[in-house]
Symmetry: C5
Subunit: 90 residues, 5 copies
């Protein structure tokens, strides 16, 4: 998984079937050096646990991210946890 | 998922079986710093929702991108939504 | 999928079972900025559609790339199309 | 797999169902040049073999990382080994 | 697949079940520009074809890499071939 910070919501009126009702958040992924920048550092992830802007979150990517719905919905990123503030190291 | 901008269509007369009829779009993926550049920042994605050049789109990658056809077609990127302009943050 | 240019063939006499007879091509993947360089910009992909050196090709990666053989062969990159020259944008 | 160093634990009180009881560690992934930095160089991985801060570990990513639970839990990184100190090259 | 050079063996006494008996090699992955460096340029891959230090090898990543054992072992990188020296281009 990767760690990132929620920066806002993403809304898409026109979308693939099956996505209706899913909450999408934009997450900026942490790296060793934020200044270095690189493709993929911005992710859009499904949230089902109530994350909001400013939260530090753990994001699972790829096929395991869609395990909750048996892969019938084409998503590849899921927020699986909100990091407890004091315990975050790095 | 990642966010990017559609820059045009890709046409391939010679292709794998099963790809006939699929619309392929070239998408430039957003990063923290566009200037940084990196491999993978250009993706070719299947579009089934009517995206066009200039649209800001959400792209699912990997196995979940081919879930719509039960993986019988070898594709790894699917446009799953067109971002509503005013709601995009970042 | 990603776009790249075929730069040559790869031959491997010693290999995993199941790979015999598969044509392997080396492909340099396009990025926003070629000068930036990054790991993964060189891929070895299976070709079944007659691609050759200099061709601009579309490459599918990951599990969907091995869909044609029901995953019995351990490959993770497949050339799925040769881009028609005039239509390539970007 | 990739190699990295465990830098601490990650705690998340609010999380997806199924994650309860899993130990999550933050791992900094090794690259050729540590100074170069890049997104994804920080991973959160599940540990089931007793790794701790400072340990050099081998991390499996993606679907194979969730094989131990038949993909019912949405995780994409698993520590599969602690590298024996003297044998590490590179 | 990616191409890289074997730089040595990796030994892990403490490891996930199912890994016993698997030979792990550290591989430095080729990029366009070696100087650029990037995370993921070092991989640990399973070898079943007798590769050794200095060999140029082809590595399959992700789920297809674990196809040989029906995904019961959590590995995500497999050496599938040793490149014939004279034929390598690039």
């Amino acid at each position: 998984m990767v760690i990132g910070t929620v920066v806002g919501s993403i809304w898409a009126t026109r979308k693939e079937e099956g996505l209706t009702g899913l909450k999408l958040l934009e997450v900026h992924i942490d790296g060793f050096e934020r200044d270095a920048g690189a493709t993929d550092s911005i992710l859009v992830a499904v949230d089902r646990i109530g994350a909001g802007t400013g939260d530090k979150v753990i994001v699972t990517r790829g096929t395991p991210a869609s395990a909750f719905n048996e892969q019938s919905v084409p998503i590849d990123a899921l927020i699986i946890g909100i990091v407890d503030p004091k315990e975050l190291k790095g």
